[in-house]
């Protein structure tokens, strides 16, 4: 009786704790290995060997093919500079330098990384097509309504994510080598009421 009860307790603890914590750890972003620079995050370990077991499982579950570190680097931002979540109802201004690379692309997606496909507007820009200011730095506006200059269209609602991809970049990605000002700043301009 005592053994049965104890076995029951062991299993009642082990199964939800084991499966629950594993699924929680694999649900979103890799729990380890992130490099954070301002609002931007990157997982340099995802594109090289050995890949950590969490990142490997997340890649397998999502079906993605991550960019190899020899190909380039990926940064994602779900927040603005102040740490507030990026939401479709607000207008943001993205400006400043990005680390050296032969080409960069900036993409506006939902939080899962899927392109926002129901819109007529532009949801990605590249370093070759972007218009630059007098100082050579581009300023990109994220908004629902079209604006002159560099513009990415916000979806109707919901949280959004910015993805910056640097192709053929000599930069090594670690929190020691990157400064906040080496990545674009994301500033909230205004929000719809």
């Amino acid at each position: 009786m005592r053994l049965v009860a104890m076995t029951f307790i062991v299993l009642a603890v082990a199964i939800p704790v084991g499966f629950g914590s594993a699924l929680w750890a694999l649900k979103g972003e890799p729990p380890v290995g992130a490099v954070r620079v301002g609002p931007w995050k990157s997982w340099p370990g995802m594109g090289s060997q050995p890949i950590d077991p969490y990142a490997r499982a997340i890649v397998a579950r999502s079906g993605a093919l991550p960019l190899g570190s020899g190909e380039g680097h990926v940064f994602v931002a779900d927040q603005d500079d102040s740490g507030a979540a990026l939401v479709a109802g607000c207008t943001y201004s993205v400006s400043g330098d990005s680390p050296a690379a032969r080409m960069w692309t900036l993409t506006l997606t939902d939080l899962g990384g899927a392109a926002i496909a129901d819109e007529q507007g532009i949801t990605h820009l590249t370093g070759a097509e972007v218009l630059r200011g007098a100082d050579g730095r581009p300023t990109i506006t994220l908004s629902r309504a079209p604006v002159p200059g560099n513009w990415l269209r916000m979806p109707a609602d919901g949280p959004v994510r910015l993805t910056l991809r640097l192709y053929d970049s000599p930069v090594s990605i670690s929190s020691r080598t990157l400064e906040v000002k080496s990545l674009p700043s994301i500033q909230k301009v205004e929000c719809r009421q």
Binding site: A14, G18, A60, A114
Partner: protein, 194 residues
């Protein structure tokens, strides 16, 4: 017969330890049990010796790309390789666009990545082989047969070659699609890679 408090505490601690083991086992087993991972979905890609287009810039309003979180500005093609019958040779003709190649081991992990900077005489030549096949190739070769190809040792016999070409402007997308589709992946004897 009553269960003592110390038994409950002991059982809970044992449960937590077992739970940690379950956690580790689940995380480690997910890659081999996943159904929609890239290796399962693209296992037949490139059977005809050419990389197969799997994602590109999809214009707004069209169906989602086959590859989650693919760059909409880049055309992506995939070729599955299997080294059990011999090394696989990859050629990627230069297209003038920014092109990158990466090799993904089955079960996860990018083990090699390069860009078109590595091209020689207008194309990238790559040979994917196991350590045993590399040893054999080095034992056989003399100075005349040693070519300009880049030899890469794969940690697994099966994997994926992924080719991306970035369209700097939307008008270059067709050229990017053509560039990644022109990449070949064949066995030494010229037969198909898969």
């Amino acid at each position: 017969m009553r269960i003592r408090l110390s038994d409950i505490v002991l059982a809970t601690v044992a449960g937590l330890v077992l739970g940690a083991i379950v956690h580790v086992v689940v995380v480690l087993r997910v890659p081999s049990l996943a159904q929609k991972d890239a290796f399962s979905r693209f296992a037949l890609a490139g059977r005809n010796g050419h990389a197969e287009l799997v994602a590109a810039a999809v214009p707004a309003g069209k169906a989602a790309p086959a590859l989650p979180d693919a760059d909409p500005a880049a055309a992506t093609a995939v070729c599955a390789f299997d080294l059990t019958a011999g090394p696989v040779h990859v050629t990627a003709p230069a297209s003038g666009l920014l092109e990158t190649l990466s090799l993904h081991a089955r079960g996860g992990g990018v083990f090699y990545g390069l860009t078109d900077r590595a091209s020689l005489r207008g194309q990238i030549d790559l040979a994917i082989m196991t350590q045993a096949q590399l040893d054999e190739a080095q034992a056989d070769e003399d100075e005349e047969t040693a070519g300009g190809e880049i030899r890469v040792v794969s940690p697994s016999t099966k994997g994926l070659l992924v080719v991306r070409a970035v369209a700097a402007r939307p008008s270059l997308l067709r050229q990017a699609q053509a560039a990644v589709s022109s990449v070949t992946c064949t066995r030494e004897d010229g037969s198909e890679a898969e």
